[in-house]
Symmetry: C2
Subunit: 145 residues, 2 copies
DNA sequence: AATTAGTCTATTGAAGCTATAGACTAATAA
DNA sequence: TTATTAGTCTATAGCTTCAATAGACTAATT
């Protein structure tokens, strides 16, 4: 499960990406419309700014706005930013590699092999899911089971 | 990331599945060979027994052994048993459905649509990964990136 | 100069994960 | 039948992380 922080971040990003013209949007506006605790949101937006995804403007008329193009911001990036590794095991991550303490031979571990495949497929799908894609998918009705 | 509990469970299951003949294996044997704290392992094995995957025998010569056939035990089942839902969002789970508080219209949520696809692919791969499959995969060398 | 709005530091409460301790129960073998 | 072995159950403790809040501070705009 992704954290609330990540979920809030995605919601805020989609919201900002939908504001066609890049006028700064106040934190309080995002907070209210997306139902995110304001102080919590402030920290999230700061992180997104540090990551180069958003930019901000201070003073009257200030707020946050997209710096990167919506099509260049994907869910893999956002999830890594807030929740760290996407994979199920530390030994199959791109950027957060860590050896399993109890593992005897990583190179021949069947469990690792499975989770490696899962990670690859997951990251592939999450990279395709950029903000533009997400917005365009709204309204795709699906059957759940 | 999966919990240590799940990881321990998988390791214990693979270990038991490898013991061809179904003689009971002592908890302490599994604990030592798989490097799992014994008391913690006891709780895990009990859960696996309650789930019908393992069975146990008390007294001298007792221990745990596979009840289900290794090819009928897959990682999706084990992960759900210990960590709950596999999906990234509560609104795209099979058995743990929960609505996102801040969501306005679930049926048209582009984020949900993405994570729904990810879940489907993930569960599909995890279901294929049964104990027999995992054991047979040992030794598949892979290139990581 | 006043106002507005973002920035930073610290802290708190709740929850979940990991691990441990100890008492209890049941089955086996001698 | 008795000693021993080994699984079962309950409780709890430490730690970490997540989520949220508070308040003081800083900078830009009009």
């Amino acid at each position: 499960m992704i954290s609330k922080k990540t979920k809030y971040a995605i919601n805020a990003l989609v919201y900002l990406a939908k504001q066609g013209e890049q006028k700064p949007i106040r934190i309080s506006d995002i907070s209210i419309s997306q139902n995110i605790p304001q102080k919590f949101l402030e920290a999230i937006l700061l992180d997104l700014k540090k990551a180069g995804i958003l930019a901000s403007k201070k003073g009257k008329g200030g707020g946050y706005y997209m710096l990167m193009a919506p099509k260049d911001v994907n869910l893999a990036e956002v999830m890594r930013l807030f929740d760290g590794a996407i994979a199920f095991l530390p030994c199959v991550t791109y950027n957060y590699y860590e050896r399993c303490e109890e593992c005897i031979d990583e190179e021949t571990c069947g469990i690792r092999d499975v989770f490696y495949e899962v990670r690859n497929k997951t990251v592939e799908l999450l990279k395709q899911a950029n903000l533009e894609e997400i917005i365009s998918r709204e309204g795709n009705l699906k059957n759940f089971s």
